[in-house]
């Protein structure tokens, strides 16, 4: 049994002072798609959530109603009642295609540059900051990608692994950056729209990163993370080009 939600960092966003029901619904949905809240888990009580977002309970209820309508959460009455996650939202094929069409090669490369900067330093810090016994979950989380059967499960497992390294790195700022980057990259990477990624390669990458972290090889952990992310980004760029999703410019290239 997993512990009932130490609250996901995604909920604690100090940068959005004017949250409305729609924004809150999106934030909750994105923490679910990232695996910060799993299917079957219960959301914290309404009052507690409302306080965390700094909004009235009525506003929070609007957000929950929107999520119910999308079939992402369900509210059950009674003693064991509450609001439960029933479905991890995943982008539709159409929205993945749109994303790849509207994101240029340079923008994808730049996304990769930022992700390398964040994730490779996270791996380095994790190697420096772990202590005996604190990496127990990491190998389990790395292996989950192998058992994952659907794109949603794979994306969630992949994100969850990288987020755990960020947790071990003990930098709230880097964790928050990693969450944002995973949220943007992972669903596209694992979507069925893009050519299938080799699960075994990803698993091998993950396990190699885990052993570097566990064996206090900070430099190597950093290099392995960088190579891992660069491969993922090359995969996305190749997917964009192979699918012919080159942005509409309305411009005649001969001009």
């Amino acid at each position: 049994m997993r512990k009932p939600a130490a609250l996901p960092q995604v909920f604690q966003d100090g940068q959005s002072p004017q949250l409305n029901g729609r924004n809150i619904a999106e934030k909750i949905a994105s923490s679910i798609s990232l695996g910060m809240l799993s299917v079957g888990e219960r959301l914290p009580p309404e009052l507690e959530l409302a306080q965390q977002f700094g909004v009235a309970v009525a506003t929070l209820r609007k957000a929950l109603a929107a999520l119910r309508e999308e079939g992402i959460v369900e509210t059950r009455r009674g003693r064991a009642g509450g609001t439960f996650v029933v479905r991890a939202p995943f982008p539709t094929d159409r929205s993945v295609r749109e994303y790849l069409t509207n994101t240029s090669i340079v923008e994808l490369r730049d996304l990769g540059d930022e992700h390398v900067a964040v994730a490779s330093m996270i791996a380095r810090l994790a190697a420096n900051r772990i202590y005996a016994g604190s990496t127990g979950r990491l190998s389990d989380l790395a292996a989950r990608i192998f058992d994952a059967r659907t794109p949603v499960e794979r994306a969630t497992a992949d994100s969850r692994f990288h987020i755990e390294i960020a947790v071990l790195a003990q930098s709230p700022r880097l964790l928050s950056a990693e969450l944002r980057l995973q949220n943007e990259i992972s669903p596209v990477l694992w979507s069925e729209v893009t050519p299938e990624i080799n699960g075994q390669t990803v698993l091998d990458d993950h396990l190699a990163i885990v052993s570097a972290i566990e064996q206090d090889r900070a430099e190597q952990a950093q290099q392995l993370s960088e190579a891992h992310i660069r491969n993922n980004i090359a995969h996305l760029i190749n997917a964009k080009l192979t699918l012919g999703l080159i942005g509409p410019t309305g411009k005649d290239p001969l001009l």
């Binding site: 240029s104 090669i105 980004i233 760029i237």
Partner: protein, 238 residues
């Protein structure tokens, strides 16, 4: 025998023609704009109000006719201006079919001074007297985009006065040139004169990455115009 030579040759000539057209149109623009500039009694550059208006008309027409170009105009050297401040007569797109003169920080004492005389796109053409292509680069304090700039030197009264230039956003380089590169069977990329990738046909060669050596089995073929220093990186024919 693999059918490599013909496709690569075709890609190379299509690309050369594309860049050649950009530079030819730039040289025409440079000619038309620089005739509006004269020299005063002390030999410093002089630009009348009516001259500026004609430059605006010519530049906005240029942008209308060349959809891939994001900005264009003249940039003068401080030496030719004879003033402490720089001067740029630069026009950019400001939305659909709208154009605006772009203002830069030209005061060397200012916080946001655009010290363009130190930048590659200026120095190459101004010092060598040849046309040049600089980028990709982030034009910080300039138009603040990720761009490529094509320049050619300008003369006023037999003396070099600065450069004429045009900017192309990297997103437009991508949408214009990737379809051409994708015609090639294998991974190819356009390299600039530093060996940095301008744009490639796959995730293997990414914009901005500088290749310290050619990948195994690869070679380059120069693109025209030769002064721009561009080359196509492609697999060696076996």
């Amino acid at each position: 025998m693999t059918p490599l030579v013909t496709p690569v040759g075709e890609v190379t000539s299509t690309l050369s023609a594309w860049f050649q057209r950009r530079f030819t149109s730039l040289q025409d623009l440079a000619q038309d704009l620089s005739v509006e500039v004269t020299r005063d009694a002390t030999d410093h550059l002089l630009l009348s109000e009516t001259g500026k208006q004609r430059m605006r008309a010519r530049s906005t027409t240029f942008l209308e006719e060349h959809a891939v170009v994001d900005g264009c105009g003249l940039i003068f050297s401080r030496e030719a201006l004879g003033t402490g401040q720089g001067q740029l007569e630069w026009w950019v797109r400001a939305g659909d079919e709208r154009f605006a003169r772009y203002t830069f920080g030209v005061n060397p004492a200012g916080d946001r001074y655009y010290d363009y005389e130190q930048l590659e796109w200026f120095t190459k053409a101004y010092q060598t007297g040849e046309l040049s292509l600089a980028g990709p680069y982030i034009d910080y304090l300039g138009v603040e985009d990720y761009i490529v700039t094509l320049t050619t030197p300008i003369q006023v009264g037999q003396v070099r006065a600065g450069v004429a230039g045009l900017d192309i956003q990297m997103t437009d380089i991508e949408s214009s040139l990737v379809p051409i590169l994708r015609q090639s069977e294998h991974d190819v990329a356009i390299l600039n004169d530093h060996g940095s990738v301008l744009i490639g046909s796959s995730g293997r060669f990414l914009p901005g990455d500088r290749l310290t050596q050619l990948p195994e089995g690869y070679t380059t073929s120069p693109l025209e115009p030769a002064e721009a220093g561009l080359a196509l990186l492609h697999r060696q024919a076996t």
